[in-house]
């Protein structure tokens, strides 16, 4: 156990919270000292977001006390918490894209002179504020919509500081950032620390947690498992606390050379608005990893194969027969399934039941194929097989954790017994435990003879899962790598730092 600091900035004691009779938090204690980065880790559904909402005034706790700056507090809503000095930086920003940086930073409390907004003063203050956190390169009068994600994040932070935040909550701050931007965020976090600001840092990525935090609290099933000093723990130990399993057991065994079957899918010269000259072969029994930067055409490739935005040039062959994949229905009839990267936006129907979600595709496309009772029974079996955890199959899917939602989506596709599966970021936003369950499932599908194409931005996942890796850049294939390639090789191809391999 780590020692609590003598006079913490934030002290949570025995926090409990239930929703609809489900206990989400139970007796959680947590301290944050001024100038400390305190990381909170745990699987999805462990209670991290609920805890953060309690600290930032979004929810009132059912039990326990929140003490901030030495005084017991019961915040009445987020604004009240902000005024008291608690700022929160959400994964999704809350900025007005058509307004300038300064206007966003001082939104709602603009400096006023003679009843009018004092623009010059507002700009000056914003510049001073940005300079004080070392962000001199960010123009205070630039439109926020023109800034990159990393810079918008800085604006969010400045916004909180303009309200004299003493405690900042950062919820998965690097989720939307590119690798080089993460470095910049590190610098910013350290400068905030030097100003004496306490930081609560929620993240799935253990690397960051180790790089930045001084203490780590592990939550599991709404309870605090432990709080440790970062210097005295290891990633393995943390993962064990989170799921009770070693890090080394992460990825399932790859396919051997004999496991690969015949070529299922061939693309020759495939192109559309986002892709050019794509040549690709996908074999039964293999997991083909697709790497590349955001916007390199990875998702466009999956969407072309699934008929969402079909190829306009080139040929596609399925088991040696030419095929036209003009719509999702056509692709599904051809035995192709597609698990999208935007689970909330295009993967689930949030207010429908687990069962309705799992039955969606069977009902839509193969309604006449088998009797309703048989079909429902089969889908229930699949939900069992992928180990969905829910209160029942009539529970609305939105109440499930990301990992369980993804398993339901998977069951939806498995019900069609697809022969080709396209996975776009299958484990995005999913906790560690469910992640490895999904990895196992993906591999099992390949072993059972399906051809799997898997897109991933997470290099360890891409390297750990793939039997070969095709890297895309600017809508073209930049090169192919065998299993056992290194992160450096993938990145080099993705950014074009090496001569292109013959694709």
């Amino acid at each position: 156990m780590a020692d609590p600091p003598p006079a913490p900035l934030l002290a949570l004691r025995g926090i409990g919270k239930s929703f609809l009779g489900v206990r989400v938090l139970d007796g959680v204690d947590l301290d944050v000292a001024a100038g400390e980065v305190h990381a909170v880790v745990g699987e999805n559904g462990a209670g991290k977001s609920t805890l953060m909402k309690i600290v930032s005034g979004g929810y009132a706790p059912d039990e326990g006390t929140v003490e901030f700056a030495g005084r017991p507090r019961a915040f009445h809503g987020p604004r009240d918490a902000q005024r008291a000095g608690v700022g929160i930086i959400h994964q999704e920003f809350n900025l007005l894209p058509e307004r300038t940086v300064a206007e966003n930073v001082y939104l709602g409390h603009e400096p006023v002179r003679r009843g009018l907004v004092d623009r010059r003063e507002m700009l000056d203050r914003t510049r001073r504020l940005l300079a004080s956190i070392g962000e001199t390169a960010l123009p205070a009068d630039s439109r926020v919509g023109r800034l990159g994600v990393a810079q918008q994040q800085v604006v969010e932070i400045a916004k909180a500081l303009a309200l004299d935040a003493r405690l900042l909550i950062m919820d998965e701050p690097t989720a939307a950032l590119a690798d080089q931007e993460v470095e910049l965020l590190y610098g910013l976090v350290r400068r905030l620390q030097e100003r004496g600001i306490g930081l609560l840092y929620v993240s799935h990525r253990l690397t960051e947690v180790f790089d930045l935090s001084s203490r780590i609290t592990v939550l599991k099933d709404g309870r605090r498992v432990t709080t440790v000093n970062t210097a005295q723990t290891t990633a393995d130990e943390l993962v064990r606390h989170m799921v009770g399993r070693e890090l080394s057991s992460y990825y399932p065994q790859r396919a051997g050379p004999d496991d690969r079957g015949p070529v299922r899918l061939t693309v020759r010269g495939g192109g559309n608005r986002k892709l050019r000259g794509v040549d690709l072969e996908l074999r039964a029994g293999e997991v083909l990893g697709i790497g590349g930067l955001q916007g390199s055409g990875r998702s466009a490739l999956a969407r072309a194969l699934f008929g969402v935005a079909p190829f306009t040039t080139g040929d596609v062959e399925l088991d040696g027969e030419p095929v036209r994949l003009r719509s999702p229905r056509a692709a599904m009839r051809a035995g192709i399934a597609y698990v999208t990267e935007d689970r909330k936006g295009e993967g689930i129907v949030a207010r429908q039941s687990v069962l309705d979600n799992a039955l969606l595709a069977s009902r839509a496309v193969f309604a006449a194929r088998s009797g309703r009772a048989a079909r429902t029974a089969r889908v229930r079996e699949l939900l069992d097989a992928v180990e969905v955890r829910a209160a029942g199959d009539d529970q609305e899917i939105r109440f499930l954790s990301g990992g369980n939602q993804q398993k339901v989506v998977l069951a939806r596709w498995l019900a069609l017994t697809p022969r080709i599966l396209l996975f776009d970021e299958p484990t995005r936003g999913i906790d560690v435990g469910a992640k490895s369950a999904i990895h196992d499932l993906v591999r099992r599908l390949a072993t059972d003879g399906a051809a799997v194409l898997m897109i991933s931005s997470e290099l360890p996942e891409l390297l750990g899962m793939s039997d070969r890796i095709v890297v895309l850049r600017d809508g073209r294939i930049a090169g192919e790598l065998p299993a056992g390639a290194t992160e450096e090789e993938v990145v080099a191809l993705a950014v074009g730092a090496v001569r292109e391999a013959a694709a």
Binding site: F306, V308, P328, R329, M332, Y338, T340, G345, E346, G347, I348, V349, A350, R351, Q352, V354, D356, L359, L360, A361, R363, A364, V365, A367, R372, A373, R380, L383, D384, E387, V388, R389, A390, A391, G392, D393, D394, R412
Partner: protein, 325 residues
Amino acid sequence: MRVAERRPLPLRIRTDGIAPIVALLTVLLILIAFVQPDFLAPSSLMSFLGRSAPIILLAAGQYFVIVCGEFDLSVGSLVTAQVVVAARLIDSDPSRTWPVVVLLLAGGALVGLVNGLVTTVLRVPSFITTLGMFLILVGAVYLWSDGAPKGGLSEEFRRFGRRAIEDVPLLGRIPYALLVLVVVAAIAVVLTRSDFGRTLVAVGDNPRTAELSGVRVVRTKTIAFMLSGLAAAVAAILLGGYSGVSFQAGVGLEFGAITAVVLGGVALGGGRGSVVGAMLGALTLETLFALMNFAGVSGALRSTVQGVIILLAVAVSSLRSSSSR
């Protein structure tokens, strides 16, 4: 699926979210029992249900459209048009009754088809599509009938909306309209439990997901509009019999139906609600009007009351859904 084996019974009617409307209806009936105890006598209650059948049918039709995320404002003028057309075509000739009934149903489906295709293929928001259809039908029916309804309905045609099976033990009488309602309601419930019905709600919840799961969104929504048109045709047959031929036959029914559906717990914008709730919403609305009538409240307040109900019901449901997030 792990834990809690709580599987729904195979024949269960989806009852999600109808508890509030059942409670409200009960309260209104209790109030009526104080103000006008005679109302609850079996034969009077049966007549009331028969009178309410058209609006309940329209609510059921409107349910399909609203639950997939659209609106149908054309049903009121569609009812008027159907009644006027029926009178002119039948022209008091009993032998034409059944052909005209078939024609009305086809006409209702056709109007729904046009509404659906304009909304989905031409991407006109359904609010505008069906408002346009409303105006087109109003104008067309005036033009076609030269400004005054002509002809007349046959007694056979009027039977559905006006007559009842009399001297039934216990119940007193069973209006034909009630029988029609029971049949249509049963069909509606079966439809919502079918693949089509479940898919329709999914389309209203998230059309993107539905599309990427192979749902033909255009077709599904168009069928919903056709169901609403069919329901309007049946309602027109009952109303023509009950209240006779006039240009006022269907005035305001579209708002009545939408109010009823919202009152019954169906989310505007789609994705949530049951057809049973929608139909109970219509019954509750009619019960409220009956209560107002008994209590001596001016009938002129009807539309005001509907307006207030719509605003309140939507406010309550959005507050609830935002707090449970």
